[in-house]
């Protein structure tokens, strides 16, 4: 695992209060109670701070799964 993956997993597990092993790409915002709107805000701002990037509001709304999040992060982080 890369440093990037580790950091992301750490943020996800702390925001969602679950072990890193329980986090899969299929984890869905709709079916997962701890991922409420406050947690979503928290997640986005922590990722913005950690990776020094910025999300557009439409992007924030469109993140529905951990997979979505990774996809958009990859786009943003690739040079």
């Amino acid at each position: 695992m890369t440093d990037f993956d580790n950091k992301l997993l750490d943020i996800l597990s702390r925001v969602f209060r679950i072990d890193q092993g329980e986090i899969t790409d299929n984890l869905k915002r709709k079916d997962f109670e701890p991922w409420d709107s406050m947690a979503h805000l928290m997640l986005i701002s922590e990722i913005e701070n950690e990776f020094e990037i910025f999300f557009e509001d439409e992007e924030v709304v469109d993140i529905w799964t951990v997979g979505d999040l990774k996809k958009i992060l990859n786009q943003k982080m690739s040079p």
Binding site: I11, R14, R17, L41, M42, S45, F54, V60
Partner: protein
């Protein structure tokens, strides 16, 4: 639970605090039986406040409290306050944080139009803003018994008037500064509503960094992730003070702490202490310590030195700020410091957990904190130029009101030292007490004494029979009730005036007078004034035709000094309830308590 808190201690970041808060909320813990360690908190206001509430909640837990937190909805605080059946009032709140953002109250076009507003308009708007905030808090004051913490307004960095903002009678900044002054003036005398100086806390942190504009526009979160925990610290200061978790005494080392160098080696001419660097940093550090002493913080010395060498600095060095009389006690010897500090605590008569230890030597610090984990051992900076900043940012000495007893405490301890010397030379304890010229004044509490009485109820641990903590409101209610009486006791002797040092709350139920609370500052333990206090209650009870006095004792870790009070004074028939409360009975037909012959009781 402890595991969660431990992880926050290791990593006190915003995410870590928030995550811990959510985890603990999920646990759904039951409140402990012991109410004194519970803080029922509410955080309400005009923005999204869950992050701030989370940080205050966890930081309060880190102080050892159980916390129940209610977070108000987004900008629904007015409804929550006005609607008596809202969740805000579901339980009796101890602390309500009202977080107000001036911009949410002001007209949306206020900033844009400010320059075009007349001076009169600006003044009227300012007055309206202040009155609006005051009406909200006074509403809260009347509907709850909680401590209300409302913030002042952040004076903005930007002003459309630019550098000439203060060339106008009310420029934009003065609009806010003036509002803050008005708020402070109106709340100055209020003992339940406290104005949290958000403007100062934000200024110290850096006003341009208090908001993260992404989270502000996305979710109306008012404070950035770096600033929120710092603001939470400020709120926790009030909670600690309210709960009596206040440090009362600073124990200082000498060499390389109060002055630079080692007196035993460098000599009085060689140590660094003077008006230029190196040396001025120690002088300024001492000046800061003196400012705390003048506010009522007790100072003590614990140093490995030859006493004669060290005392010479106090007596002869022209730049030495603190003198021997500023210290309540000194241990200058070659004994280990943990043992010395224990002796200091005994001599000064305060708990180890009210002490702060300052020493430049990490080995000494480690030894003391290992033996006495309850002492706050400060991780001193290596650079003495940072000593002053260290003591000034410690923020552990807060009280909710500063009384005349606080201001005079230093002198009282000098009196205490002289009293101890006299006691050593006296042949018997009665002899000693006879020479003190003790005068005790006991009366029902007046408005003037009430803040001090509430302070004593909040912080007295050792000579406290039941350790029941009552708020300002509760004490006022007892005072007003015809079935209760609140007494205060002041003590005076030839070495000085101790001020109000004792409190008793009596509940009258038919022919029985119940002593609900009886407590006395540790300063006057050993002068038999408690006997005078009981004698006065007995006399009043007889006048009211009561037949029995019932005294309760609730044991705690700290109050063994009070354990035998009732037994010593002839109370009998002790019964202990399941909750551990022991009741003692004094039958007034058969027994009485007299004022000791060496005490003059002054009645009013």
């Amino acid at each position: 639970m402890n595991e969660i808190l431990e992880s926050v201690r290791k990593d006190p970041s915003y995410l870590s605090l928030w995550s811990a808060y959510k985890k603990i909320q999920d646990l759904d813990l039951k409140a402990p039986e012991d109410d004194t360690n519970t803080v029922r908190l509410a955080v309400i206001g005009s923005t999204t406040l869950e992050p701030l509430a989370a940080c205050v909640d966890i930081k309060t837990r880190l102080e050892g409290f159980h916390v129940e937190t209610f977070v108000g909805g987004f900008n629904t605080y007015r409804q929550e306050i006005l609607n008596k059946s809202s969740d805000l009032y579901k339980v009796k709140r101890d602390v309500i944080i009202l977080s107000i953002d001036a911009w949410s109250i002001l007209d949306k076009m206020f900033l844009s139009n400010f320059v075009r507003m007349s001076e009169k308009d600006r003044q009227a708007t300012q007055k309206e803003l202040v009155e609006d905030i005051l009406s909200i808090v006074s509403n809260l004051e009347s509907t709850t018994s909680a401590l209300v913490l409302v913030n002042n307004l952040v004076v903005p960095v930007f002003t459309p008037l630019g550098v000439v903002d203060n060339k106008q009678k009310i420029g934009l900044r003065r609009f806010f500064e003036g509002a803050n002054i008005l708020l402070a003036e109106k709340l100055e005398k209020n003992s339940r509503i406290f104005l949290v100086d958000l403007d100062a806390v934000a200024g110290a942190f850096g006003k341009t960094r208090i908001t993260n504009w992404n989270t502000w526009y996305r979710g109306s979160i008012p404070f950035s992730d770096e600033f929120t925990p710092i603001l939470a610290d400020e709120y926790v200061r009030y909670i600690r003070a309210m709960k009596g978790r206040t440090k009362k005494c600073i124990v200082v080392d000498l060499d390389n702490t109060l002055w630079g160098g080692i007196i035993g080696e460098d000599g009085i001419e060689g140590i660094k202490l003077g008006n230029t660097s190196p040396g001025i940093e120690y002088v300024e550090f001492q000046r800061s310590l003196l400012s705390l002493y003048n506010r009522g913080i007790i100072l003590a010395v614990c140093s490995k030195n030859n006493p004669d060498d060290a005392l010479r600095v106090f007596r002869e060095h022209p730049s030495q700020v603190l003198k021997e009389d500023h210290f309540a006690a000194m241990r200058i010897n070659w004994q280990n410091k943990a043992a010395n500090i224990e002796e200091l605590a005994k001599e000064i008569n305060i708990g180890l957990d009210s002490m702060v230890f300052l020493d430049d030597n990490p080995v000494e610090r480690a030894q003391v904190s290992q033996v006495h984990p309850e002492i706050l051992v400060v991780d001193m900076p290596k650079n003495p130029r940072l000593y002053r900043e260290m003591i000034e940012s410690l923020n552990v000495f807060d009280v909710l009101s500063i009384t005349s007893e606080d201001i005079a405490r230093g002198e009282m301890y000098v009196g205490k030292r002289k009293r101890t010397e006299l006691e050593r030379s006296a042949t018997s304890i009665e002899d000693f007490l006879r020479t003190l010229d003790l005068k005790v004044r006991i009366k029902e509490v007046s408005d003037f004494d009430t803040p001090r009485v509430v302070q004593l109820i909040g912080k007295t641990n050792q000579f406290n029979l039941t350790t029941r903590r009552y708020s300002d409101v509760e004490v006022s209610n007892y005072r007003k009730s015809s079935d209760a009486a609140v007494y205060s006791m002041t003590v005076h002797d030839k070495f000085g005036d101790e001020g109000v040092v004792g409190v008793a709350i009596v509940k009258k139920k038919g022919g029985d007078w119940w002593i609900d609370s009886l407590l006395m500052s540790c300063r006057v333990i050993g002068r038999s004034v408690e006997t005078a206090f009981l004698a006065k209650i007995v006399a009043d009870a007889r006048k009211a035709k009561a037949t029995r006095i019932i005294g309760e004792y609730v044991p705690t870790k700290k109050n063994p000094p009070a354990a035998d009070l009732y037994e010593r004074h002839g109370f009998g028939m002790p019964t202990t309830s399941d909750a551990g409360v022991t009741s003692w009975i004094l039958n007034l037909d058969e027994q009485t308590i007299d004022v000791p012959e060496w005490i003059e009781l002054i009645e009013e």
